[in-house]
Structure formats: C-alpha cells, structure tokens
C-alpha cells in the first residue's frame, strides 16, 4: 500500500497505535516516520514497512524514550 515511505495508507493509520503507550500516531511525510507524541518516539518506515518496534524508534527532543 505504501512506496518507499512516501505515503501511508489512511486505512493503516486508523488501526495503528504506539506499541508502548497505545496512544495515537501521526504521520510525518517529510521524515517518513510515525510519531507518538505521548511516548516522544518516532517509528521509521523503511521501504514501505512501518517498523513498530520500540527498540528501533528514534527518541524525539533528545529525551530518552519513555521505556517501561
């Protein structure tokens, strides 16, 4: 449904949440990332595959991710 992280199917965004907080995600088309504002984590999309792993997520604002 997606190509090179250039876009994300809106249907996919309706079902995905942050695996850590179960909170909402928003798509950042520039970075090709799915952002969890609650967890302050950015999940990458690589070659059209969202990588929904906390270990692979980028911490935002230089803060440490809110790891449990």
């Amino acid at each position: 449904m997606t190509e090179h992280g250039a876009s994300v199917d809106p249907k996919l965004l309706e079902i995905l949440v942050c695996p850590l907080t179960k909170g909402p995600l928003r798509y950042d088309p520039q970075a090709g990332e799915l952002i969890s504002d609650q967890a302050k984590l950015a999940y990458p999309i690589r070659d059209g595959i969202p990588i929904m792993l906390v270990d692979e997520a980028r911490a935002l604002d230089g803060d440490q991710p809110a790891k449990s």
């Binding site: 969202p50 990588i51 792993l53």
Partner: protein, 313 residues
C-alpha cells in the same frame, strides 16, 4: 537472586530471537517446511467458519506463508502481516502480489508482546507458530482480544508440549552422562491442558484447542539442528548455557537419539505437536451457558430411563 527472578519473569531473550529470525531470512525457502505445513492446516480451518473477515491480521507472519495461501478464503479483503523481524517483514513484502484474489496486504514489523493496534479493529487474528517464544502469553492474548472486534475470531497454531521430545530426551541424557548435569536445551512449550485456560483468562469466549502431531524425519540429529537454525528456532532461553557444547556431548546425544528413535529406514523422527486454538472475542449475541438448575426437562426423560434413588448397601 534478582537475576533469577528476572529469568523467571522473562524466560526468552526476544532480542536474540529477532536476530535469529533476521538471519533465517537468507535460507528461508529451504527451511520453511514446518511453517508452510502448519499454515496450510490453519487456513483450512477458515473454511469451517461460515463468516466473512474483511479485516484480518497475521501475527508473526514469517515469510508471508498464510497471505500466499489464503486465495480468497474467509472473505479477507485486507491482511496486515507482522513479524518481530523487520527482515522477515521485508521478505513477506517482497512476496506480496497486491490485489491477487482481491486481497490487499501490508507488512509491518511488530513485537507480539507490544502490539501496535488500536482496540476493536480486526475481524480475524491469525497466528502460525509464532507465539511459543512470547514471554507473557496471557498479556499477548489479552492484547489480541482487545484488537479484535466483538465476535471477532482468533485462530492460531502453537507448538505444543510434546514438540521435539526426542531431542529434549537425548540432550538431557547426554549432558547428564557426559557432564554430570543437564541444561535447558529445548524450549518449554504450552501444554494442551493449559491452552484453553490461558484463552479464558485472557477474556476469550468459546475457546477450543485441539492437537495434531506432525512427524518429520531427518538423516541425523545434526540435520535436525541445522533445520531448526534455518528456521530461526534455536534456543533463545535466557538461562540457556552460554559455553560451547563439547563434542563428546553432542556425539553422545546423536548416539542416544539414534538408539532410541531410529526408524527401520534408518532415519530419525522429530515430533512437532501442533495445537490449534480457536476462540472468539466476547459478544452479547454469542451462545451463553444456561444458569445451573434452569433445565426444563429432567435428565431421566432425556435418556428414556427412570430416575431411581440410590440406596447404599
């Protein structure tokens, strides 16, 4: 002490499992026999459920075997396929022929222990041989139930407690004889008696578990172990032994396996017990058990017999 407690809380090293699965991608088509076999049995079950499942999830998709076998089964329109290993998810994506049989497929990397799905999104969750390395199975089952719509179906195959019992026995005895003590070599799998209770504890309705045994034969114990490695299924127990196996112990294990289990054609059987679980997310419309004592007809009439008082003599 603290370390021991940690081990009992999380018996499996999931980061190691991920690396094993990442590595298994290269040789996957030569070692996916068991997964294909189990996936075939799993998708056939869909024919028995007279329902349509437009939105479905394949949790722990390996190389996308289920997605390739669906061929219109279950009325699935969208299939989300996840694997703990991003490389496996990428392998699945490469094999996806979008639009075949009207099926849209999307691969994701996701951890079975921390699902990235909102509540009540799926009509069906499928899982093929991917939940036996989950540390907190009740927690994962609860997350699966939450992402199912009411009256949604969970259909999964697991490796059961009799899996690889020949290999377990051979290793325990070889280590005991050669080294004076055994280390955990083969994972503890879910017992069929526990599986239904686990589903109920996770809030599923109408759970059914059945067991099927698949015996695969190998030329030698070393071929079997190479196959397990190729599947990314070798030991990820946290308290596995970290020192290299002594040659003498390995040879002894091979000898014991051969002596005890070799079949007349000279090959070594390996048992895989495949448990199939079916359960439903609760819904008020489902059949409910009657209140005890609410029967309208007595048992004796139903059995065409006469009720008699039991006297003790």
């Amino acid at each position: 002490m603290a370390d021991n407690e940690n081990q009992s809380a999380a018996p499996f090293d999931r980061a190691l499992l991920r690396r094993r699965r990442d590595r298994a991608v290269a040789q996957w088509p030569s070692h996916n026999f068991l997964v294909r076999e189990a996936a075939e049995r799993l998708v056939e079950r869909l024919d028995d459920i007279k329902r349509q499942f437009p939105m479905a999830l394949d949790l722990g998709c390996h190389g996308g075997e289920i997605g390739a076998m669906l061929k219109g089964r279950g009325g699935i329109e969208t299939l989300i396929e996840t694997d703990l290993s991003p490389s496996m998810a990428a392998l699945t994506r490469r094999g996806q022929a979008d639009g075949a049989h009207g099926l849209a497929r999307q691969a994701l990397a996701a951890d079975e222990e921390a699902l990235p799905f909102a509540n009540e999104r799926f009509d069906l969750v499928l899982s093929c041989l991917s939940l036996h390395w989950v540390n907190d199975l009740p927690g994962t089952l609860a997350q699966i139930r939450h992402c199912l719509k009411p009256d949604g179906v969970f259909l999964a195959t697991f490796l059961g407690g009799e899996t690889l019992n020949e290999l377990r026995e051979a290793w325990i005895e070889a280590e005991t004889v050669e080294e004076g003590g055994a280390s955990p070599r083969v994972s503890p799998f879910v017992d069929i008696r526990d599986a239904g209770a686990l589903l109920q504890r996770a809030g599923f309705a109408l759970p059914v578990v059945d067991s099927d045994t698949l015996t695969v034969s190998y030329e030698s114990i070393f071929n079997l172990m190479a196959e397990l490695r190729g599947m990314g299924e070798t030991n990820v127990l946290r308290n596995r032994r970290r020192t290299p196996t002594r040659r003498a112990t390995a040879m002894r294990a091979a000898e014991i396996y051969g002596q005890r289990f070799k079949t007349p054609d000279g090959r070594l059987p390996a048992t895989f017990q495949i448990l199939t679980m079916t359960a439903w997310a609760p819904d008020p419309g489902q059949q409910q058990p009657l209140t005890p004592g609410s029967a309208k007809q007595d048992l004796a009439t139903a059995l065409h017999t006469k009720a008699e008082k039991i006297t003790d003599d």
